[in-house]
């Protein structure tokens, strides 16, 4: 016991504090971002076109709990000093810029936290809208005033206050627009556990990004002698950005936009492309405005699409859950039966034990046997409740390797009471050895249960001896089949109609069960079909892809 309590204490003492890794990442990231920002400067008079360190710090704050912010801000200091001191700026100005850079991150992150709980989601228009207004607009605006005031106060350079404000504002806003969503989207992707992508998808992403870069370099980084630029040139990257939005969602767009920005800035900084004008200030502003106006609608488009598919996904899962709960409601009588059986055994056993204690107290063997039976019956009742609870729960889809026979057996025991009270004999014909399948246990059980209950309903008018329901499992090449076969009257309509939503033959039915079952099976890469059998009755056939057998 002592060893147990001591170990976590020691481990906790040795474990690094939770802010250490983020702080290290911020220190290094900030330095790299600052060097990048310096590389994106127009000469001879240095005009920054994109200043990413503030935005990086802002994104890092958004991903961290408020109590750890000070560590991250502190971690940016060495990165800031290392980057800035190389450029020969006086120390007071270096520290002044550190303060104004931190102020942008702090203003943006604090404002955002007021309106959005937790990390803003890029599949929510509200979150993204607030992100743009706070991180990409309010934070650069407010911190730019502080920044310009500090520069004038310290007396660095010769620019006027408003010149400073206008050059820094766009550079900071563009950086926030490019960097903050980029970091948030990739952090969310990593946190969700990167989904396995097929090779074709990687190829598509590679084609998209190389196409986008090629077009941007051609349009914005080629020698440009003509004073006039055809407007079409500015739209050249649009097809690729739309491709990213539609096919790869917010993650695609927030990755594509910085790629376009970097190519464009690189060209402009090297005196190439259509943005070069007489003064570097105008050049920077025209390019920044172009990038900002191109980015905002595309980002919002991708977010709107992602939000719609998220809402669709959520309502589908809600409907699936509701139909499952409705089905369990129909089974409630059978479930009461299923719970009453072990309760009967427990009560009769306990009362028998009382007799033994009163009349033959010496007989320990029989008492221990009775207690053993009570335990078994109690566990059986507990199993019924566990299975029910799992079916009632509403949760995210969880895929795992599943034994098809076990799925069938679990559903059969859940439906056992209902089948018994309806006088239906369930005959399992389960293949001795089946490959596993991959899927969500509860959803697949819901499908099998739905088919079993339907089959039972179909046999309600059959003679007692004919109420036989067969559940058959078998494997063919690369596939697992679960067939539910009844001896009812079969169906008279075309089998596709059975799976249409709101088609029902039951007086109390909603007509959703089979339509939901079919979409669950399809989502598992399988098929659900219905056939009328020659000898009478219907068979519902589930086909699912089999997992490769383990050696």
């Amino acid at each position: 016991m002592d060893a147990h309590t001591a170990t976590p204490g020691v481990a906790a003492a040795l474990r690094p504090p939770r802010w250490l890794l983020p702080a290290l990442a911020v220190a290094i990231g900030y330095y790299v971002a600052a060097r990048l920002g310096m590389a994106f400067t127009l000469h001879p008079h240095p005009i920054s076109t994109l200043w990413p360190p503030n935005a990086l710090l802002l994104a890092a704050l958004l991903l961290t709990a408020g109590r750890d912010w000070w560590w991250l801000l502190l971690a940016a200091l060495p990165g800031h000093i290392a980057a800035e001191l190389q450029s020969g700026v006086p120390t007071v100005m270096v520290l002044g810029w550190y303060a104004s850079n931190c102020s942008e991150a702090l203003i943006g992150a604090s404002l955002l936290r007021v309106f959005v709980r937790g990390v803003p989601r890029l599949d929510s228009l509200r979150d993204t809208g607030i992100l743009l207004l706070t991180a990409a607009l309010a934070a650069p605006v407010f911190s730019t005033f502080i920044d310009a005031a500090l520069v004038r106060l310290i007396g660095w350079g010769t620019s006027t206050y408003w010149d400073l404000v206008s050059t820094r504002l766009f550079s900071n806003a563009l950086a926030a627009l490019m960097v903050v969503p980029l970091i948030l989207a990739w952090a969310a992707w990593l946190a969700a556990g990167p989904a396995k992508m097929r090779g074709a998808r990687y190829a598509e992403a590679a084609a998209l990004f190389s196409g986008l870069l090629a077009v941007c370099l051609l349009a914005f980084a080629m020698p440009h002698s003509d004073a006039h630029t055809a407007p079409a040139v500015f739209y050249a990257p649009l097809p690729f950005l739309l491709w990213a939005a539609v096919r790869f969602g917010p993650l695609g767009v927030v990755s594509a936009l910085p790629a376009m920005a970097v190519a464009t800035i690189w060209g402009t900084v090297h005196g190439l492309g259509p943005f070069t004008t007489e003064t570097p200030q105008d050049t920077a502003r025209e390019m920044q405005l172009f990038l900002i106006t191109a980015s905002v609608p595309l980002l919002l488009l991708a977010v709107a699409l992602a939000e719609r598919s998220r809402i669709e996904r959520e309502s589908r899962s809600q409907l699936t859950h509701l139909s499952r709960v409705a089905m369990l409601g129909e089974l409630s009588g059978g479930i009461a039966h299923e719970l009453n059986q072990p309760l009967t055994a427990i009560l009769a056993n306990a009362q028998a034990a009382q007799h033994f204690l009163a009349n033959k107290p010496g007989e320990r063997a029989i008492l221990s046997e009775i207690l053993q039976d009570i335990i078994l019956a109690d566990k059986r009742a507990g199993d019924v409740i566990d299975r029910l609870r799992a079916m009632f729960k509403r949760g995210e889809t969880r895929t795992e390797a599943l034994d098809p026979n076990r799925l069938v057996r679990d559903v059969m025991s859940l439906a056992h009471g209902d089948m018994t009270t309806r006088g239906i004999e369930v005959v399992p014909r389960l293949a001795a050895s089946l490959p596993e399948i991959r899927g969500d246990r509860i959803q697949l059980q819901q499908v099998i249960l739905n088919l079993i209950v339907n089959a039972a309903d179909a046999m309600s008018m059959c003679a007692p001896n004919d109420r036989v329901l067969t559940v058959h499992t078998l494997a063919t090449k690369g596939r697992v089949h679960i067939n539910v076969i009844d001896r009812g009257p079969g169906f008279t309509v075309a089998s596709e109609i059975l799976f249409e939503a709101f088609y029902t033959t039951k007086p109390q039915g909603l007509g959703l069960g089979l339509s939901i079952s079919k979409s669950i099976v399809s989502a598992h890469g399988g098929r659900l079909r219905a056939v009328t059998r020659k000898g009478g009755g219907a068979a519902f056939l589930i086909t699912l892809p089999a997992l490769a057998r383990r050696p």
Binding site: G333, G334, A336, H337, E338, N340, Q341, P342, L343, T344, A345, I346, L347, A348, N349, Q351, A352, H355, F356, N359, I370, D373, L376, A377, R380, G417, M419, T420, T421, G423, I424, E425, P464
Partner: protein, 126 residues
Amino acid sequence: MPYVAIVDDEEPVRKALKRLLRASGLEAESYASGKHFLEASALRRPDCLVLDLHMPGMSGLQLMHEMRAAGAMVPTVVITAYDEPATRDQCLAAGAAAYLRKPLDERLLLNAISATMKRTPKENHQ
């Protein structure tokens, strides 16, 4: 000693009821289905039958109908884990002497058994 037969498809229930009735001083035997019971009762007729209603194959109601048709009705206490409004009347109409819901209270069960057996044999045997 009165002899009670139990018919229930659930093995744990069967076992526990047999144990309880024996501990209460009755002679008890149990059967997993109506078919098994009919075979055994041809050899030795019980004084009372404790009969589960919902069973695969032959249900409790069917068993009572068969006993009646054969003129061999045994005084019967129907027990069920699934109680529907109409079931009780159906069972009494089919000749059951008592109708009890599971889980069974010992006193109610024993009272029902002894009340059933006190009814004149003629009344039950027709």
